[in-house]
């Protein structure tokens, strides 16, 4: 009864695209993941539109005139916590739940699992971030236009804001995935991600020493967020330079995660 199995043959073997497929199934079969992405979309779009509504309704001319395109996406620096948690959970919950054992029995070379999770997470968060940013930027400028506030948005800047929101959220989510893979614990991973992305810049920002201030701008979050503030000319880094700094952090954390993943017991 078990022996004769026409459904298993030589075509059943490992491949990277199949590992990606497996991770896609894992991502979509936990209800919390699509729900979280929906919340991220609603938050990026909704908070952007609210910012526009608030500016449109302001009475003093200074406030009305002071709104910048990047303000419509200013809330991304808070929303990143949701996508960071999503990234940590995607891998740390494997260890907390014990499913990591099954996962690495199926894919004993291990690193393909990390890369597949990275791709699935990056795609999901990038698309969500871009969709939210499109709604926030286009909807926001439309609302402001109705109140006769004209945001000067050159097409390249609009594109940079929209793609940048997706890239920033996706990259910090990958950084968080790497932290989750290094720490292998849900709570510890989330604390590390919040600590690096949110608390560290704040802490270093209140230290009244000049070089520490400068160093703080090379932390992943402040550097990466420059891409969402094209008008911020006083920064030490260019917008894309800042994003590259974030990317460097992410690549380093991912490499460390991969090295540890290969060497450790599951």
């Amino acid at each position: 009864m078990i022996a004769a199995l026409p459904s298993i043959d030589d075509r059943a073997h490992l491949s990277f695209t199949r590992v990606i497929d497996s991770e896609r199934i894992k991502f979509t079969t936990l209800r919390s993941n699509p729900v979280t992405l929906l919340i991220v979309f609603a938050a990026v779009a909704g908070l952007g539109l609210l910012t526009a509504v608030a500016a449109a309704g302001a009475n003093d001319a200074a406030h009305r005139a002071g709104i910048l395109p990047g303000d419509l996406l200013g809330n991304v620096s808070w929303i990143q916590i949701i996508t960071a948690i999503l990234g940590v959970l995607f891998i740390a919950s494997e260890y907390t739940s014990g499913s990591a054992r099954t996962t690495f029995l199926a894919v004993p070379t291990r690193v393909p699992v990390l890369l597949a999770k990275l791709l699935v997470l990056a795609c999901a968060v990038f698309i969500t971030g871009v969709a939210g940013a499109v709604a926030a930027v286009l909807g926001g400028t439309a609302i402001l236009h109705q109140s006769s506030i004209e945001l000067v948005l050159a097409p390249p800047i609009t594109l940079q804001l929209i793609v940048g929101a997706g890239l920033y959220l996706a990259t910090t989510a990958i950084l968080s995935l790497a932290l989750g893979a290094i720490i292998r614990n849900v709570v510890g991973g989330i604390l590390a991600a919040i600590g690096l992305l949110l608390v560290a810049p704040l802490l270093l920002g209140i230290v009244p020493v000049d070089w520490i201030h400068r160093a703080a701008s090379f932390l992943p979050a402040p550097a990466g967020q420059l891409i969402l503030a094209p008008e911020n000319v006083g920064a030490a880094l260019t917008p894309w330079g800042g994003y590259l700094v974030l990317l460097a952090w992410t690549v380093c954390a991912t490499i460390l995660a991969a090295i540890l993943l290969v060497g450790r017991d599951v």
């Binding site: 298993i8 497996s22 894992k26 499913s99 054992r101 690495f104 199926a106 070379t109 450790r264």
Partner: protein, 306 residues
């Protein structure tokens, strides 16, 4: 497909979980892996399938490390611990995600769900599963790739009597199909029924590696029923011979074969009703072997707690 463990050691800090362990599991056999808690059974099994990284030595499957296999699930099915699935995912989706890594079709997922008796709960979340259901899910994962080798760590742990019967039948049919089964179990009676070969480990080292027959071979012990128990005991008494009166009319004598015993009692006119050579049970053999190797020996009652 042979499982071959070569000089495997696994050290945590200063203590060895497994020390210089070598053995082979021959293809098509059922091999039992016995040992007290903490003896290194799980560490050895986890090292074979690449979850633990050995400190030295290696484990090979058909000459290759597990991680080098092109289709690990078609070669080896592994059941390690009950908790190996995400609580919030359904059994079906868990299996589907695992199957996807090897491109195993959905029809096979449905087959193993039936095989493991999970049909009624396939669409329920794993978090609500009983221990037995979790174990069935683990078995379903192990069978997913229709593997030639099965490595099962305590497959009957925590199962109710129905579950134990189910596992026993399943193991028998898997073995009958010629698959290699390497399993650890505390249920020695169950193991004695199906294993061809037994490897005993204690304190991280192999204590015994022998065919089941050799392990449970006839001892030099004969159980005799007679109404002249005391006379018989006096008759056989001598160097190298011990006797123990079991009941009013039975006595166990070791140091003499049944033939010698029968002849001598006939000469002395003692009538024997029954002469039965006593076979050692796997349990007795195991307890003898692991005496002194029990990691967490219960302390004596009179021991001063200070």
């Amino acid at each position: 497909m042979t499982i071959e463990v070569r000089s495997l050691s696994k050290r945590y800090g200063r203590t060895f979980a497994v020390r210089n362990v070598s053995f082979q599991v021959a293809p098509g056999t059922v091999t039992g892996f016995l040992g007290p808690n903490g003896a290194g059974k799980s560490t050895t099994m986890r090292s074979i399938v690449g979850l633990d990284r050995p400190s030295s030595g290696e484990a090979l499957i058909g000459g290759q490390r597990y991680a080098q296999l092109r289709a690990p699930f078609r070669e080896v099915g592994t059941l390690l611990e009950t908790k190996s699935a995400h609580r919030s995912r359904t059994a079906y989706n868990h299996l589907r995600a695992v199957a996807a890594t090897h491109g195993i079709r959905r029809s096979r997922v449905n087959e193993v769900i039936d095989l493991a008796g999970l049909s009624s709960v396939a669409n329920k979340r794993v978090g609500g599963f009983s221990l037995g259901m979790g174990q069935r899910l683990g078995i379903a994962v192990a069978l997913l790739g229709d593997p030639r080798i099965l490595i099962l760590d305590e497959p009957v742990n925590g199962l109710d009597p129905d579950g134990v019967t189910w596992i026993r039948e399943l193991l028998r049919s898997l073995a009958a199909e010629g698959r290699t089964v390497f399993l650890s179990s505390h249920l020695l009676g169950e193991l004695a029924l199906i294993a061809h070969h037994v490897i005993v480990i204690g304190r991280g080292e192999i204590i015994s590696d022998s065919p089941m027959d050799a392990l449970t071979a006839t001892t030099e012990r004969v159980r005799v029923r007679t109404d002249q128990v005391e006379a018989l005991a006096r008759l056989v008494a001598g160097p190298g011979v011990t006797s123990a009166v079991m009941t009013q009319d039975t006595i166990e004598i070791s140091g003499l074969s049944s033939e010698q015993l029968a002849r001598r009692s006939a000469n002395s006119g003692i009538v024997l009703f029954e002469v039965v050579p006593v076979k050692r049970s796997l349990e007795e053999a195991y307890i003898e072997l692991t005496r002194g190797a029990v990691e967490y020996q219960a302390s004596s009652e009179n021991e001063d707690p200070k």
